[in-house]
């Protein structure tokens, strides 16, 4: 991906056989997120999105602007896990969880990346891995290996 300028709006989507409540829990509680979100322990309150590593160091931080369990979550994203990206402007991540006949369609939109090129580059492969890991975890109970 290095030869291509990373996109300033990125959209990722996956169908998951689980209820909206299960998906909401899996994206907002550290017991779940550390199994598929690059080991990060994520806590979400109506005010803040906090991702920490196993030792409590900040990985991702941001204010929450929309908090509507179990269907919609919008928060800022500051990439503190990467020293070069940490100083960049905050970007925005929106999660949408829609019911579709026994499945849920989960859409992650990462935008407002115009002033955050490093972040744009390093989340480009990352979200694909996170969403496929989330699907595997919820459908099989096992974290994705490899």
């Amino acid at each position: 991906m290095s030869t291509i300028t990373a996109q300033t709006t990125q959209v990722y989507q996956v169908f998951i056989k689980a209820s909206p409540e299960e998906i909401w829990e899996a994206i907002t509680t550290p017991e779940f997120t550390h199994k598929y979100f690059f080991g990060s322990h994520v806590t979400v309150t109506p005010e803040r999105f906090t991702g920490l590593d196993g030792e409590g160091n900040d990985l991702v931080l941001g204010g929450v602007s929309e908090y509507e369990p179990p269907h919609r979550l919008v928060h800022e994203w500051r990439s503190l896990y990467d020293p070069e990206a940490a100083s960049e402007a905050a970007s925005r991540v929106s999660w949408e969880i829609e019911d579709k006949d026994g499945f849920c369609l989960v859409t992650v939109t990462h935008d407002r990346l115009e002033d955050s090129p490093k972040t744009a580059e390093n989340v480009a492969g990352g979200w694909t891995f996170v969403l496929s890991g989330l699907k595997t975890l919820l459908e099989t109970g096992k974290p994705l290996t490899g």
């Binding site: 996109q7 959209v11 694909t128």
Partner: protein
């Protein structure tokens, strides 16, 4: 978004070309995509529809425009399900062979 639809969507050079165009620059309109292909607007629409049904392209409205975004997650899932599985065995078989040859040497 089942595997059949993803394989079917990928089994066409025009559709793979559309995905490559979106990989280079994401969030494009039908008009922009059409201008790079020797094909009618209707033809491009039909191909985009197949890609959307497979979940490989996600349309989003922005103002008056409909933008098309590449969604790589289904390709990742195909990779996890169909590629990892077989390549892992190949690698393991080679590792075993190396081990056996070195043992007997």
């Amino acid at each position: 978004m089942d595997d059949d639809q993803v394989f079917k969507a990928l089994a066409d050079p025009t559709r793979r070309h559309l995905l490559d165009r979106l990989f280079e620059r994401d969030g494009r309109t039908l008009t922009e995509l059409e201008s790079e292909l020797e094909m009618t607007r209707f033809g491009v629409m039909k191909h985009l529809r197949v890609l959307e049904d497979a979940g490989l392209v996600v349309p989003r409205r922005e103002g008056r425009e409909k933008l098309h975004f590449l969604n790589p997650v289904p390709i990742r899932l195909i990779h996890d399900r169909w590629i990892d599985k077989y390549t892992e065995h190949r690698v393991a078989a080679l590792a075993d062979l190396k081990h056996e040859l070195e043992e007997s040497a």
